[in-house]
Subunit: 385 residues, 2 copies
């Protein structure tokens, strides 16, 4: 397959945008990406979204947004893989450009979550789990993650405070990201005294949802000689893998096998190993997911992913910086948009645009987006020369 | 891009399957396609579906079905483009195999529509239209098509009975298709006396919804030397195009510009012209759409698409057979699955498996799938040697 480069990026601040519609939020990020890329038109639009049919009574988002931003007559489609919808849209756009059938693509991740009550949104998010065998039993999405976290603590002997560094690092980084939802510092005391949501997950283990959109423009790498001084950034690795949709069907609920599989394939495609990854935008929807993701991707032994936090290796100056723009925990988690925020942030790091949280000499960045409780996982590796 | 062949097909009967779940219906078609292809595993699964989040409280259908049919560890994703979700999933799978990144794909179109009340389903189907500017005014999906049909009759002077041949042909063909929902003959009298739904659309102008699933297995064409006596069938043309999502935004609501664009691109890719098309599985969700589709794809002058029916050119022995297995009108329209039924039926024709409705010496077949009131339209051209 031919190599594909990212020519432009765009994003909106994640927030409760009461005065902005689904259409406007997505359009803003899409137009920002086109502007950043210096192009007015692309061959196709790929939209990642999970909830719009349930929250905004709107389907067919591909055409909905191509219409709004003036791409009439162009190809457009929506891709959905629960909270991994963003990365799934990126991979779909990547395959289309890589095939040679189209020469440019706009990929947009977008989610408008605040137009319904919290109860409705919780029900809508539960559609990521198995409706017949999980949700029917009354377990929410947070509840499923709480069961996994409790088992991890039991199995490996960690206590709740040991998870604090993940959230503290995320908040510290988000303070320097103008697009982040929670831009305040978090202390160990605040982390520990936070309200319990589903034991042992408390409010500071969990990421805030929100309204947001992020987008990139893809073109064949061979068509990008120089980008007006900006470095050329290619998608060197891309892979998607799946596990059972229900957590109880897995042989080992503490091992993200779809993260392992998709990372392994992405490493092979990009011709890198875990040690070559300069920073990692992982899917910290809940703090337990940070630990499991680090383990499955080869950055820590089983049961010891948490040590990277405790040993201060995850900050921008550490051995493996993670969530350098705030992660899901502090940048925010507009579910179907999250995967695209991660990719936009990897590009920002590779361009050297991250100010106080810039990873020095960043050349290889990885993003991982998780759908459901580990059911669909996509890994992307971006490189610059 | 490398050429892609269809190695196997599978489908379920379209019906009100009260005793079968979403999972079972989709699984049946997927496994049938794998069996027909003679393979047990594929690299990836692409699922086309529109309504499952709203009707079955289930999202993440890619992984949901890869789990159910035993494709753990493989890539999977859902694609949505309203009623064009099926063809959109096919095109997504096609791009992935064409890119060279994967070597085989299962594409499944599936819809379970009978698990909610008619009122809920009508509301769910309305998410294909513009929520802010169409649905908010109270217009249903049938209502939008009725406005288009009324304008067509006014503009070109046709009367309601002139649309009868489309529905009569569909029913006549469905009688020989064991997977069709309505397998009974339709007469002009029955057509004319049928109950009005949204003037001028009556029950016999409209397609019945239902539960159903259809699937194909895709592989690189170069890997298919001979198929145990079955002819090799390739996807010679594939294109997708869009129009405004709201009908009122179009300069000419009687011209399906996305059909024109996608057909034009598909013809160019397949190196054929309208006259080379041996048969056409078009999207007759409403009889008016048959006329508009024939016109936009170059088979009739503006305002004269209806003549192909009146002149008896659309039956299996006619100049341009359409809806040879019953079309949406009589085979049925399980919305997100329809595009895949069309493609499965094109393969059946090219294999010569259609009995009394077999198109003689069929070598080039076209399928066209419409999302919304012409907002997203995909055209696929299949060929055999």
């Amino acid at each position: 397959m031919r190599q594909v480069a990212i020519l432009g990026i765009g994003q909106t601040k994640i927030d409760e945008h009461w005065d902005r519609s689904l259409r406007e939020i997505g359009g803003d990020a899409a137009l920002a990406a086109l502007h950043d890329a210096g192009v007015e038109k692309v061959d196709a639009l790929f939209v990642g979204n999970m909830l719009s049919s349930m929250i905004s009574a709107q389907n067919q988002l591909g055409t909905y947004f191509s219409d709004w931003i003036g791409l009439w007559g162009q190809e457009a489609v929506k891709v959905e893989a629960a909270c991994a919808s963003g990365a799934a849209a990126l991979r779909t756009g990547l395959m289309a450009v890589a095939s040679g059938d189209i020469d440019s693509a706009l990929v947009l991740g977008v989610e408008k979550m605040t137009d319904k009550s919290g109860h409705d949104v919780t029900a809508a998010l539960a559609t990521a789990a198995d409706a017949d065998y999980e949700v029917e039993q009354g377990v929410s999405f947070v509840g499923l993650n709480a069961l996994i976290m409790r088992r991890y603590m039991h199995e490996y002997g960690w206590k709740h405070a040991d998870f604090a560094p993940f959230s503290i690092n995320a908040h510290a980084n988000a303070m320097h990201n103008p697009f982040a939802r929670l831009r305040q510092k978090l202390t160990v005391e605040q982390f520990e005294k936070s309200a319990m949501i589903a034991t042992p997950i408390n409010l500071m283990d969990a990421s805030p949802t929100g309204d947001g959109a992020a987008a990139v423009v893809l073109v064949p790498a061979e068509k990008v000689a120089s980008l007006n001084g900006k470095p050329r950034i290619t998608i060197a690795g891309s892979a998607s893998s799946t596990d059972s949709i229900a957590v109880h069907s897995r042989k080992d609920p503490l091992f993200l096998s779809a993260a392992y599989q998709s990372a392994k394939r992405a490493y092979a495609m990009a011709k890198v190993e875990p040690k070559d990854i300069d920073f990692f935008e992982l899917h910290d929807a809940f703090s337990i997911m940070s630990a499991l993701s680090l383990e499955a991707c080869g950055f820590a032994e089983r049961g010891r992913g948490i040590c990277l936090g405790l040993d201060n290796e995850i900050s921008p100056g550490g051995r493996l910086p993670i969530c350098t723009r705030g992660g899901l925990k502090a940048r925010g988690h507009p579910v179907g948009a999250t995967g695209m925020y991660q990719v936009v942030e990897v590009v920002q790091q590779l361009r050297g645009e991250c100010g106080p949280t810039q990873v020095e000499n960043a050349k290889v960045g990885m993003a991982q987006n998780i759908g459901g409780s580990g059911a669909t996982i996509l890994t992307h590796i971006l490189k610059t020369e």
